[in-house]
């Protein structure tokens, strides 16, 4: 085992290395390549040759250098120390890399994934004689002030507790519980390993009936995602994919956030690292970084590690799900991951399918998205993983293979729109192209937790928007002046919805996060205005008269002027509008009477 089994490098082509020698490598096994021990993974085994993809830059590698087998697939270390940290695509901590190789990322830096020296305060929860099953929680560690880390028996292991350590401070590699299964003895430490490409086991899947609240109005109210659900955010460049992902990472009510920066900009990761420690989680008043882990493989870092980063991220998420947490994974961007697949596939000279992407693109995408879900874990708790994947379609064209194949495996589609982004309407989620398949499942939750008539309000809002889009077709041809007053009112109300409700300012203190109850009241105010105005219009009062009073602007501004915990402000707003409109009606009646007289 281990060091003795090896092959030698025969050929090199970018990140793809051909290995010869008589050692029987296993498929998907992790190997160490060359004198610098670069980390690689076996991706094809032929009769006389093995193909390896290398996770680091291969400049300077030579034929004849050794390739060492490790006998195990690409794995990650799971244990305390993950949260609040930032890793590269194969779970190497970037801060430790910086300590070793300075501001630029060097090569061959084999290191501990998790700090092995740090001492953690352990509270052991089992006693000798207990019978343990896979997944049972054996100890608790406060990983950050926001997260209690539950140390679990790894999957596939079980037995009777023989010995436990006293509560106290230990490093993650220290055995804290010894269990015996017949003659086999297992020493369980805080840290365990798991191969990234294999989903971690759970007991059974549960149905999803609770939304992942994000504080973003267009998402929560119109296109909600369930906890355990999957969503895609496709959009051309400059439409705000990353900004939306950042907003969701900041404000969604998951317990743990796994942010995978896959092949994107370096400065975006830097921004997260700067912002998150200073932002406060509204739920427990702790910095957001204390519930966040970042996987960063920027666009100029090695492409094979980019391919792995998605799996690393989802495996970390599954580990915390198994503890009974609700985890949200932000993958920005899955297109870069698909392109990494294409790049490697091209170097292997595989037969390409659409646009050069390999034929296995859809199956890889489905495998990834299927790792989301609400489950009953092995230790009978409930945990979930929601996946929100950004998609960067080539040329902003949604008919390209990655967007199309992603659409088959997600149930929530937030389509970003270039023309909205041009007018600086953010989030630029197009309300006509987007959809959520979760609304039916989440209906009861909204009725019980938001308002009994929440769904009706939501329906009406989307109906006005739909009517507007129909009317705009006409307006494009003949202008809006010729429309009858009822239709002008629809346009006006839709404008209020767009500017006052759908548009949300991520940089405004009051507006960046909006609780669901305020969202409800905002919808209610808009509809109240619409209904009141419709009555006036029915009496023959032109929309322009109503518009002159500034009531529409009043409602648009409500998002800034009302605070999130003062719902009475909306009552005042509504009654204010009522009296203004009543005033118009009064005045109008007056003129009517005069005319008749």
């Amino acid at each position: 085992m281990g060091v003795t089994s090896q092959g030698t490098i025969y050929g090199i082509n970018g990140p793809v290395v051909r290995v010869r020698g008589n050692h029987p490598f296993q498929m998907m096994e992790m190997v160490l390549v060359g004198n610098e021990r670069l980390i690689g993974e076996v991706i094809r085994v032929l009769e006389d040759e093995t193909i390896v993809q290398v996770y680091e830059n291969t400049t300077g590698l030579k034929p004849g250098e050794p390739v060492i087998s490790t006998g195990r697939p690409l794995t990650v270390k799971l244990g305390p120390g993950i949260i609040g940290n930032i890793f590269d695509g194969i779970e190497r901590p970037l801060t430790s890399i910086a300590e070793k190789t300075g501001p630029f990322i060097g090569r061959g830096t084999v290191m501990e994934n998790l700090d092995a020296e740090k001492l953690w305060d352990v509270k052991v929860l089992v006693r000798s004689g207990y019978e343990l099953k896979p997944g049972t929680v054996i100890a608790e560690v406060r990983e950050t002030p926001s997260v209690v880390h539950r140390v679990m028996v790894p999957p596939g292991i079980g037995g009777v507790v023989d010995e436990v350590v006293k509560d106290g401070s230990y490093p993650i590699t220290q055995a804290i519980v010894r269990i015996r299964n017949g003659k086999v003895i297992h020493d369980l430490a805080m840290v365990q390993e798991w191969p990234v490409r294999t989903p971690r086991p759970y007991k059974r899947r549960l149905s999803m009936n609770e939304p992942l609240i994000t504080g973003q109005r267009v998402i929560d109210s119109l296109f909600p995602i369930a906890k355990g659900g999957t969503a895609a955010i496709p959009g051309g460049f400059g439409t705000g994919k990353t900004l939306t992902q950042h907003q969701l990472a900041k404000w969604s009510n998951a317990d743990i956030i796994v942010y995978v920066g896959c092949g994107e900009r370096g400065n975006e990761i830097t921004q997260v690292l700067e912002d998150f420690p200073n932002l406060i989680d509204p739920r427990n008043n702790r910095p957001l970084m204390e519930r966040t882990v970042i996987i960063a493989n920027t666009s100029n870092m090695p492409v094979a590690a980019r391919e792995a980063s998605i799996y690393t991220g989802i495996t970390l998420a599954e580990y915390y799900r198994d503890m009974g947490y609700h985890v949200a994974v932000m993958a920005d961007s899955t297109s870069r991951w698909a392109e990494a697949l294409r790049e490697i596939s091209g170097r292997l000279e595989e037969m390409p399918a659409e646009e050069g992407f390999p034929a296995y693109l859809p199956s890889r995408l489905s495998e990834f998205y299927e790792r989301a879900g609400m489950v009953e874990t092995l230790n009978d708790s409930t945990g979930s993983i929601s996946i929100i994947g950004a998609v960067s379609p080539q040329g902003g064209d949604f008919s390209e293979p990655v967007t199309q194949n992603t659409k088959r495996f997600i149930r929530c589609f937030w389509a970003l729109d270039k023309s909205l982004a041009y007018t600086r309407h953010y989030p630029a989620i197009n309300w006509m192209d987007s959809y959520s398949e979760y609304t039916e499942e989440l209906k009861d939750w909204y009725i019980q937790n938001a308002a009994p008539d929440f769904m009706e309000k939501r329906e009406r809002i989307s109906r006005i928007l739909q009517e507007e889009s129909k009317l705009l077709e006409i307006v494009k041809l003949i202008g809006s002046d010729i429309l009858p007053n009822e239709q002008k009112l629809v346009l006006e109300s839709a404008r209020v919805i767009r500017q006052g409700f759908l548009q949300q300012n991520a940089y405004h203190e009051q507006d960046t996060y909006v609780p669901i109850i305020k969202q409800y009241h905002m919808m209610k105010s808009v509809l109240n205005l619409h209904d009141r105005a419709a009555k006036l219009v029915a009496k023959g009062i032109p929309v322009s008269v109503i518009k002159r009073t500034g009531v529409f602007e009043e409602v648009i501004k409500a998002k800034y002027t009302t605070s999130s915990d003062d719902m009475e402000a909306f009552e005042t707003l509504d009654s204010g509008i009522d009296s203004i409109l009543a005033g118009i009606e009064e005045g109008y009646r007056g003129t009517e009477r005069r005319r008749h007289a």
């Binding site: 300077g60 990322i105 092949g263 007018t423 494009k476």
Partner: protein, 468 residues
């Protein structure tokens, strides 16, 4: 190391294949001698003792028998010292100006290494370019990569020169800046234009030029931007200078990449470009930025010409996904005589939000920029409508937007080549233009800001009447 290999196995386009090579390493440099001529090449694929080498100077004149090849034992490195200022170098960093070799302080690998994201400093200092559209609407930030998406025949070169001439960093003296200029596949006169402009604006002794002109070898073009950025990294992170890098034309670069890819027989993806075009472009663009604890910075302005003015073409498309925004030039504006013909709506600076506003420029800047974008977007809708029903049939409000649009284009976007506008001047001009619209149309601005800056509509109208 000094083994020489006589002859070649195969020649294909810019690539040659060597056989029986002992101990080659991936991306190692080789020297090929034909008679008195020495050519430079790089190993790009190894299979046992067979190496595929790309030859920087091209392969014309090479036969299977007339070469002697030597492995140099190192990847491509260029000599660097502060003496490179004022020098003109070729695409792989060899002097072209006849002033002799560069006495190196050190050699650096042109491939560079990725900056660790945790060591990056988030860019915040804005650079005043004196161009209203850029300063107000797509603010350039020090350490940003902001490309110019242009088309053939549009004045992208003038724009780049104007930025170089006028670039000022708020509250800092300007004696610590440098310009690295890389030309890839551009015409001689374009390179001359840049050199003359640098001279006439008195910055030539702060410029390093890397030239790979239109008739220079294609393979060399692949390393030209990398050489330039290696020099920039040396100046920025070792000599603590603020470096502005101009890369032109990235479309020629990408085409060179495609040419080599196809002669290697690789599987093409979109429009024949290799599947790794994104990663490859990223390895260039991501070399912009700032590093914690180092004083210098690298700001990149890559210029690319969109084939057929198509922004969805793979080159601008992938570039836009990597860079931090883009400045898009528009043929329609140019033909109406607007300079710089910056198409406002698709242009964007991703970093501006953290480098403008109170404490940086002025508190009204973010809202003002948003409002101008929104209003100008509305202008486009109104114009579309006007082209169907005629301008006379428009509502009064829409007519106001038409007027605003014309004044905005001729007074705000348009400015003289030598005209330098202070940021405050630009912002005030923006407010004057917005005041052409009724107050209640300003929905992206807080009421306090409108109270403070909204001016008398009639005054604005009399000022801009002849432009509306």
């Amino acid at each position: 190391m000094n083994l020489e290999y006589v002859g070649l196995k195969e020649i294909s386009g810019p690539l040659v294949v060597l056989e029986g090579v002992k101990d080659p390493s991936f991306e190692e440099m080789v020297e090929i001698t034909i008679g008195n001529e020495k050519l430079l090449g790089r190993i790009i694929e190894i299979n046992g003792d067979i190496c595929v080498v790309q030859v920087f100077e091209g392969t014309s004149g090479i036969s299977l028998a007339n070469t002697r090849t030597k492995l140099l034992g190192k990847p491509l490195k260029i000599p660097l010292s502060k003496e490179i200022f004022g020098r003109v170098l070729d695409g792989v960093g060899r002097p072209l100006d006849g002033f002799g070799e560069i006495y190196p302080e050190k050699y650096r690998d042109v491939n560079g290494q990725p900056i660790n994201p945790v060591e990056r400093e988030y860019p915040r200092n804005y650079i005043q370019t004196g161009i209203s559209t850029i300063d107000c609407l797509t603010t350039l930030i020090r350490g940003q990569k902001l490309p110019v998406f242009s088309g053939n025949g549009l004045p992208h070169n003038q724009l780049a020169v104007q930025i170089v001439k006028q670039a000022k960093i708020a509250d800092e003296s300007n004696d610590n800046f440098a310009i690295v200029f890389a030309a890839m596949g551009v015409k001689h006169d374009v390179a001359d234009y840049f050199r003359n402009s640098f001279r006439s604006s008195g910055v030539l002794d702060r410029v390093v030029m890397f030239l790979n002109l239109a008739n220079d070898p294609v393979v060399e073009r692949i390393v030209t931007p990398r050489c330039a950025l290696t020099a920039a990294e040396y100046l920025a992170f070792e000599k603590e200078m603020h470096v502005l890098v101009i890369l032109t034309d990235m479309s020629s670069y990408a085409e060179a990449l495609r040419e080599i890819s196809s002669s290697k027989g690789e599987i093409p993806s979109r429009k024949g470009y290799p599947g790794y075009l994104y990663s490859d472009l990223a390895s260039i663009y991501e070399r912009a930025g700032m590093i914690k604890g180092r004083k210098g910075s690298i700001t990149q302005i890559p210029i690319l010409t969109m084939p057929n003015d198509d922004i969805t073409h793979p080159i601008p498309d992938l570039t836009g996904y990597i860079t931090e925004g883009q400045i898009v030039l528009d043929r329609g504006l140019a033909s109406r005589g607007v300079y710089p013909p910056i198409s406002v709506l698709p242009s964007l600076s991703r970093l501006m939000k953290d480098g403008i506003g109170e404490g940086y420029t002025r508190e009204d800047h973010p809202g003002l920029a948003n409002q101008l974008f929104a209003a100008y977007a509305r202008v486009q809708d109104v114009r579309a409508l006007a082209s169907v029903i005629g301008e006379d049939e428009l509502s009064d409000l829409d007519k106001k937007y038409m007027g605003f649009g014309r004044a905005f284009e001729s007074q705000f976007i348009s400015q003289e080549f030598g005209e330098e506008r202070d940021i405050m001047e630009t912002l005030d001009l923006g407010w004057l233009l917005l005041s052409l619209l009724p107050r209640e149309e300003l929905d992206r601005l807080s009421p306090e800001l409108v109270d403070k800056y909204y001016t008398d509509p009639e005054e604005s109208e009399s000022r801009f009447r002849r432009w509306m």
